[in-house]
Symmetry: C4
Subunit: 299 residues, 4 copies
């Protein structure tokens, strides 16, 4: 709370200064730490992000190998040590992020703040002796979500932004598409339950049949549940061709939308920076932006 | 019948009045009911549609859970009560729709009219003691089709209209595509029946082999029927690559058509209203439309 | 031979006459038959095509049902009668086609000529007493290929022509794509044979492994052959993601090509006629064409 | 080494001569050999490439058939002879390539140089008596990679170049897409391991669950591992719909990019030659290029 307060003070004082003065003033250690941890424009920031990414991937690897019984028997001790090493590392990083963020609370409750917390918390739960809780250690896999930060590196940020723009622009059509899929799944599930339900345990209830309908419609086709009656097979054939054809429509929509974005050159020419707004923790600012376009605070 | 008649009278009298007079005249309760039930432009209409959607989804949930044996044993009574609650609710709504529609008969025989009837009828069949008929209760799942009315909400209507326009514009090519798929399925089915039929029960008849061919061509691939002879596997490989590649063509067609629609801005700029024509029960009217573009009656 | 000869004579004499004279001259019965059988511009031609299509579909239905043992036991006699009815019908039609075609030999050796023959020949083979040959009766399913003639009806012809144009324009890229798929399949097959071959009977030889690789790469995924070693599963995961992603590229190519065709309006505005060239039996002529664009003979 | 040296001398002397003199000078046998082996512009070069392609395909066929036990028992001797024939042929070709390349070392370490070596080496390993090493004979399947050289023939080169350009232009978006798929796979794998791990051997470890997640997300769906608990099936349904929908986005991106390339006509009008740079062994030069655009040496 006190940190948040002092942060506010610094910010207000910064806002009152002129631009010229600000650029000349040497950055305080907190500002410098902020640049390293939250941004990827400076060499130090880039190095930090790359090292963090490696640490994340290694820790994910440890979690994976730990879950394999034969490895766990042989290297159990090493895995525990590695896990504690990464947890402490990420805890320090988490503390540093809170320390240097201008509005720590906003960081804590931002998407990445929650993910950062979830990736260190489960290890500490080991002190609790319940088996049930220890199994939740698998939640640590969520720390891979932090790897999304790599999109700050290279030219990936503008690519991700374009993708988001295209999906956002087509959201109403994609909703229509998904609603159609869901309605088709429910009705097909009910129909197959009616047709096959009495003979085939895989269609004994509507939710079961819906599971089958989704497996079929998305063309996954496990084969753990398959229709056996001729009528059921006919219905299945219809839903297969439907699922096979249905994917065409949203593809066309997203593509047409993306072509539209390309030709209107709204996004084609812009190169977004990797700066994170120190206030609202959001990305995607233009290189010439001085203020955050989401919350208006100085970048 | 009498309702329909009085309705006609009101309508005729309305048509004979001048526009100015009509706009000033306070709406009768039937007009107001019509606005609430059939349209989503007014706050009351929007609220009604949202509540109806929730009721539909809840009733579908009850139908689903009812079909699971273990739940039915424990909560059978509660499910029956809930089912009757929703059925009576939808019956009242159905009666209200007939009451306020200007041409009730046209509503009754419209697509949604039939769906509305089918979603309440099966519950009343429970008075009939036949087991066979009671199993048809699953038809109630069709009431999910009524959920398509949600497309009236938000911006989904124009999205759905654009989709329909694109599919309609490409119907001849999609027919060619589907005909090619069907012909390929029949010929592959016959070929595999010839090759594998004597050894493999899954290919014992042409319809059986066609079922396999559809499962393969749509890349679903259950694996309940698979070729075992080398020649059969070769044919299967060909049909797989064919099915994998075939989807490309209609995708290209629909996309090109959609891009065309986008660039010609025929649909891009228009925002359709949620009004339903009181005469022919069809949607998709432009915001500045005063008369239905399908039947010419006043909106 | 004699027919072909007399045909030639008629044709030459026709060619020497002036256009004006030709248009006034009443059509001979052979010309009229030609119009009915080979074209779909006149009401009689359209009716003939629709009736033929129904006959083809019905005969295919008979072939299908005949292959189901339980139906064959009960209705074997009826099926044989129906089969002979359709065979004689198609034989008459085949004879009529030869009779009225201006160059019968060219028709006989054209694609549809061969298909027409193959759809009647197998039934006559029943007189041969060998079981082996009778099993070839399934070849009659090829008569469904004749159904491709329905594309003459409605607006499907220009749709089919556009499809062909798009596929033809992108043939070099699609070849590259298919070659890449085949090379990936062979190398993956060899790799999995090396990794899994000793333990897993499904990968005992390279062709076997290639079958698996095709099943996997096209995302069909029967599951009749699956990798069991960790390394094999890793390789399988790579080929899956490859197959899943690979489809993107040709889709993009065909779509871009189709958009190009659309915007250059080369095909968009034209409506092709259903006329078949009486000389070379090819379709796809423009409505204002007086001579065949493939062989130069009068339409 | 000496060859490389003398080669350098010739090259330097060639470089110092004037263009006019060079064009008149009759080509030395090495130059002629170079044209035949490395290029496909001359009739001799085209013939060589076609013959080489046939030899590669035949040798691949031999490798495939050899791996089938029943064939190997009967035709083992013939296969060995054929294999040695192709190996010696490819060895001679490899020597000739080294001999006529202007910079042999660069050829040896180029992609095709390594592939060429790998396709002959395994056969010679037969002299080593270890069974382990002989199983590596399957590496010879890599010689199919040499078949990629066929893209020099026909119009395929510009098609392949356009494909590469489109993929290269969209690499950042495709990376984002693949990273999203991988992150989704890891998190889904961890989740299913948590949910199903205790009951279902197919989900006993995170890598196992990830294998299942990839099989599901790419819509392959073997069915060797399937969820059995209701919660697991719900999660599976989510990942299926995700995988089914996800493919839309990169398709749209690549297509939009390709349309862009088409309309800007950067690649549409150019026809690339089949010349290989004698220095750096790279292809894709424009027809009017006199110097290699990658290393600047004379073509």
């Amino acid at each position: 709370m006190q940190i948040a307060f002092s942060n506010q003070v610094i910010e207000s004082s910064l806002m009152s200064e002129t631009n010229a003065a600000q650029e000349k003033k040497p950055l305080a250690w907190r500002e410098r730490l902020y640049e390293i941890i939250f941004e990827a424009d400076t060499p130090a920031g880039k190095t930090f992000d790359v090292l963090l990414l490696i640490a994340i991937l290694l820790s994910i690897l440890v979690i994976m190998l730990e879950s394999v019984k034969s490895y766990d028997l042989h290297f159990g001790k090493e895995f525990t040590i590695a896990e504690w090493f990464f947890t402490i590392l990420f805890t320090i990083e988490y503390a540093a992020r809170i320390l240097c963020a201008r509005r720590p609370l906003r960081y804590v409750f931002s998407f990445y703040g929650v993910v950062d917390l979830l990736s260190i918390l489960p290890t500490y739960l080991i002190f609790l002796d319940s088996d049930e809780i220890q199994r939740l250690g698998v939640i640590r896999a969520l720390r891979l979500l932090r790897a999304f930060r790599i999109f700050k590196l290279g030219h990936m940020l503008s690519g991700a932004a374009e993708l988001r723009a295209a999906i956002w622009a087509t959201r109403s059509k994609i909703t229509v598409f998904l609603a159609t899929v869901v309605i088709a799944v429910v009705i097909e599930g009910a129909a197959l339950n009616l047709i096959e339900g009495s003979d085939n345990p895989g269609f004994s209830s509507i939710p079961q049949s819906m599971y089958w309908a989704i497996v079929t419609m998305t063309t996954v086709g496990y084969g753990d549940v398959t229709p056996v009656t001729p009528l059921g097979k006919c219905f299945a054939a219809v839903i297969m061709i439907l699922g096979y054809s249905l994917i065409i429509v949203p593809t066309g929509i997203v593509t047409a939308e993306l072509s539209h974005i390309y030709s209107s050159e709204k996004l084609g020419g812009s190169h977004l920076t990797t700066q994170v707004c120190p206030e609202c923790m959001r990305e995607g600012h233009d290189p010439d932006a001085t203020f955050c376009k989401f919350c208006g605070s100085r970048l």
